[in-house]
């Protein structure tokens, strides 16, 4: 191995460790026994690690309920986003070149609209539609594919499909929806997995929507639970970080589970 490659590998290791440190601190601090004074020197692991804090967050707050609420939000938002964004991406790829370009510019423009510009009027909109204080207020962006970014991802994937594929499907008598379901989706599945993961992460971590559009406590999602815990027990670090780990664990596990799909596709390209 040349010294240059050694250097690159070393740099990669250092960067990876630095980037993962916050996650590591989050986990190790959550394992400190409750009520014990925190150490004043840097320690990697507590001397007597315990899972007691994880028990305590469930005693203090209806964490099971919040977790189910969060799962309900992603359970609705991810499929809706996948359908809307893959349809739009496919539709875009079938347009004429100038029309494709127009849609790219529209999508990029929408991507640049900051969410806070829409906070108050979306609040009014959801109230009019009867979505205020319901799960639909949290899921709403899914109806436009959540982010134009995802539409552009599908568009990019669909453009790589040779047009002979579409002709063949048409000759076989397959309609638009049939072509989408049995040809396009399987061929763009890496993109679909990527969009699903990004969508999951987006809705799972969304703190602003429940803050603005929910009023009833039993509809809250996990990020709001973190805020509640922080107000409840300001300096109980191991308790707060146990809740943070709980909130983070599911998206991380999902990512690690799906990671092989992405690494395979990277080798392909």
């Amino acid at each position: 191995m040349s010294s240059r490659r050694m250097f690159i590998t070393l740099l990669r290791i250092v960067v990876a460790i630095i980037l993962l440190l916050p996650l590591l601190f989050m986990v190790t601090t959550s394992l400190y026994p409750p009520g014990e004074p925190l150490p004043t020197t840097l320690q990697l692991l507590p001397q007597r690690p315990t899972f007691a804090n994880y028990q305590r967050i469930f005693d203090l707050l209806p964490m099971g309920r919040y977790t189910l609420n969060s799962l309900l939000v992603v359970g609705l938002a991810v499929p809706i986003t996948l359908v809307v964004s893959s349809w739009a991406g496919l539709g875009m790829a079938r347009l004429s070149r100038p029309a494709q370009r127009r849609w790219i510019v529209i999508s990029l423009a929408v991507l640049m609209v900051p969410g806070i510009a829409l906070w108050s009027t979306r609040f009014l909109l959801y109230r009019t539609l009867g979505w205020y204080d319901t799960v639909w207020a949290l899921v709403a962006p899914a109806w436009m594919g959540t982010s134009p970014f995802y539409i552009l991802m599908f568009y990019r994937a669909c453009r790589r499909i040779p047009s002979a594929m579409f002709d063949a499907a048409q000759i076989d008598g397959a309609g638009v929806l049939r072509t989408w379901w049995s040809i396009i989706l399987p061929m763009t599945r890496t993109t679909a997995v990527g969009v699903a993961l990004l969508t999951f992460v987006f809705y799972w971590g969304d703190f602003i929507s429940p803050l603005l559009y929910l009023r009833t406590g039993d509809k809250y999602t996990l990020p709001v639970a973190l805020q509640t815990l922080q107000q409840l027990s300001r300096s109980d670090w191991s308790l707060m970080l146990a809740a943070a780990v709980w909130t983070t664990a599911i998206p991380i596990l999902l990512f690690l589970l799906l990671q092989p799909v992405f690494s395979r596709s990277q080798k392909g390209s």
Binding site: L19, P22, L23, W87, I116, L118, L211, A244, F262
Partner: protein, 305 residues
Amino acid sequence: MPMPDRKTHFSLSQQMRWRLLLLPYALGIIILVLIPGLLSFGLAFFHYDALSPPTWAGTLNFTLAYTDELFNLSIRNSLALILIPVPLRVFGAFFLARLMQRNGRFLSWFRSAVYLPTIVPGAAFALAWLWILNPLYGPLNLFLQSIGLNGPAWLVDPTWAKPGLVLMALWQIGEGFIVSMAALYDIPVDLEDAARIDGAGSWATLRHIILPIIAPILLILTFRDAIFTFQESFTHIYLMTEGGPYYATYTLPLFIYEQGFDLRLFGTASAALWVMYTITGLIVVALYTIAKQWNIGTTEDSLVL
């Protein structure tokens, strides 16, 4: 070969059906972005508390917002918290993409490590960094202490609160990393190899071959990241400092939130947003010019975003 009439008709409607796939997306943009955006634009001229019907206010809301000292402070803080971290984030994302570009052992795991912090929900990330930046027990200051340095009080100290937020913003750069990596993949390997054979060093290759090709993408990424950072920092600031200490981290989203959702002054909130409309408008125009100039979306596979 003559085509039967029915078939021509079928292929026409087929084209229309492909177009129909764009309908939900188009409707979604109109209902969730265009209409709320335009409404919010007009709301600036009304008194509105979401309880009683709106009444005409003329330009009073603008006077109220733009003479508010907190509003002016929030603009300055927002600009500082965009202009400093965003270039660092984009540069960092590009540097990491370049570092993880060529093959090596466990490459996909290294890439995952870069992306992993981005998956952490904003609220959980805020709590983790609230702990890391804790002046007394936080790992960062304990580390600084162990190498003989006296760490600052970070989020409790008005001069160090912003640097603390900038520091934590450097961890969640997964999106920029993926976009940069996709952009780098689109550069033919031969091009780089040819440059190397011609005797170009890695810096010269980067400067003269790679950067010119992906410059427009990095520019779009910078705009996008500015908007994203602006938005995402609300969650962090709301949970970590609530705008303090002494309004050192009080940003425009916080001002809008207080006006709209605490005080129910939707008109004033909208008037304050006009600054943002102006900035967003300028960005969109710039974007359009860039897209035209570099022919984004017109050449094969040049689109990564």
